[in-house]
Amino acid sequence: MRYIPNSPEERKEMLEAIGFQSAEQLFDSIPQELRLQRPLNTPAALSEIELLDKFDRLGRRNAAAQRTSFLGAGAYSHYIPTIVDHIISRSEFFTAYTPYQPEISQGTLQTIFEFQTLVCQLTGMEVANASMYDGSTALAEAVLMAERITRRSKVIASAAVHPQYLEVVKTYVQHAGIDLELAEFDEKTGQAGSALAKAVDDQTAALVVQSPNFFGCIEDLKALADAAHAKGALLVVAITEAMSLGLLKSPGACGADIVVAEGQSFGVPLSFGGPYVGLFATRDKYARQIPGRLVGEAYDKKGRRGFVLTLATREQHIRREKATSNICTNEGLIALAATVYMEAMGRRGIQEAASQCLQKAAYTAKRIAGLKGFSLPFSGPYFNEFVVRGPRNAVDLLARLAKEKEIEGGIALSRFIAGRDTDFLVCVTETNTREQIDSLVAALSEL
């Protein structure tokens, strides 16, 4: 097997050198009755040529990957600069281990320190960790953290948070003694509305809101922060479209206490849902309650600056069952991709990409709203996603759009929320050209 450096002959020599006659003897400590008496019933080995052929064919069976796309809802098609993949493909980054030995891991450690800084800058918060698995699990951990900080057990989330994110939070809190309640969103605006702010009381650990929310609507975070703080509760803000941070007021500036986000928009391919990267940021005073790894500045005896994993006593390998989380492996390489993206696009590029998303979405919405039978049911402001109400069943409409026009026009809301059969969510990014948008509009008017 070509990945095994020692040939069968070399291995035979090694066995003899340590006193064995056969490789079978290496497993003497496994009782005979527990050993597999037959070969594994998995496929036979494929050569590189055969393997690539198999996966190429499987790749071509994913028709959706070839089409013009207006899909969002938690995963976004953005421009990825060529150098991102080139840099994360460097051996020293992707085949490196977790930086537990700082002297030979400064590459990883310094890039994480830059990542933490960029996350703080974009979210407007004071401290950020080295990443979580994704936005949904980051949100779940934020809820657990809010309970730890406030010692209160009620958490109220807006029903306009991504439904899959809410599902994940539910799974995480089910045995944590946390009471998760949902507050209805405003039917007119599509925003969280007054129900969320009104629901907070002095038993509430946190209000949870997503902005832009699942319907694409931008929330009034400052008002929610004020409402939460008035009762001693925290405001937890979730963001699925990180690009929005390039244009919208940062949650930190609005008074958020914990901000979590999905970082996939920053240099990470769609890849059928993963690997993505969870951003997690909070105030300095809560730093010791943060889950996950933290990289800090440190100096050696000669006064040279370096970076090191720090505040490790929060983590599972030291605090075990009292740890702030059980997380160990996180999303290191994806965080690196996001870091390269944020630095390559930089201060100007992130804002320009965000601005193009806003403008193209506005253009698309205006043109669709102008079609007979189509309207925008929610009046709230949006960034690059918005809900369209069509003349008939959205699932059918979108299926025809895909099959007949080769366009992934949006995501039917009925897949997530009962009773919204004619609504679908459309996402527009800087990668959608005017031509593509006009084709979408033409196709919709035709169908």
């Binding site: 010791r288 490790a312 006593t313 030291i318 605090r319």
Partner: protein, 130 residues
């Protein structure tokens, strides 16, 4: 050789108690700080909190370890050593002096009678390190 002042009471969890009237000042011993290594953070309770004897009132962290700290006597917290927030290393450099942790108003002054004397504590630590 760890320092074990004569005039203090000791617990098997390596805390010391200095009695001043009906109040008790508590910290961790020289032996304890030496085992822990460089202290980086001390978690202390709020004033007014009540603790039973042998209940954990906080924790001490080094880079690679965290240990709970227990109060050998029952009582309610009068003051805590706020300076440890900025200078946790005092626990290492002056465990019986500036590294003190909390001052309790004792619920039962008789609690100290069941603690170890300096000599008993010294024997205890000798046995532990063997």
């Amino acid at each position: 050789m760890a320092n074990v002042p004569e005039d203090l009471h000791y617990s098997k969890d390596h805390e010391w108690v200095r009695v001043e009237g009906d109040q008790a000042i508590i910290g961790i011993t020289d032996y304890a700080q030496n085992s822990l290594g460089d202290v980086v953070y001390v978690e202390l309770p709020k004033t007014g909190e009540d603790f039973a004897a042998n209940e954990p009132f906080g924790s001490v962290e080094s880079v690679k370890a965290v240990s709970e700290v227990f109060t050998p006597v029952a009582g309610s917290v009068v003051t805590i050593n706020e300076s440890l927030a900025d200078e946790p290393e005092k626990v290492n450099t002056a465990p019986y002096g500036e590294g003190w942790m909390i001052r309790l108003k004792m619920a039962n002054p008789g609690d100290v009678d069941s603690l170890l004397t300096a000599a008993e504590y010294e024997d205890f630590t000798k046995a532990e390190s063997e």
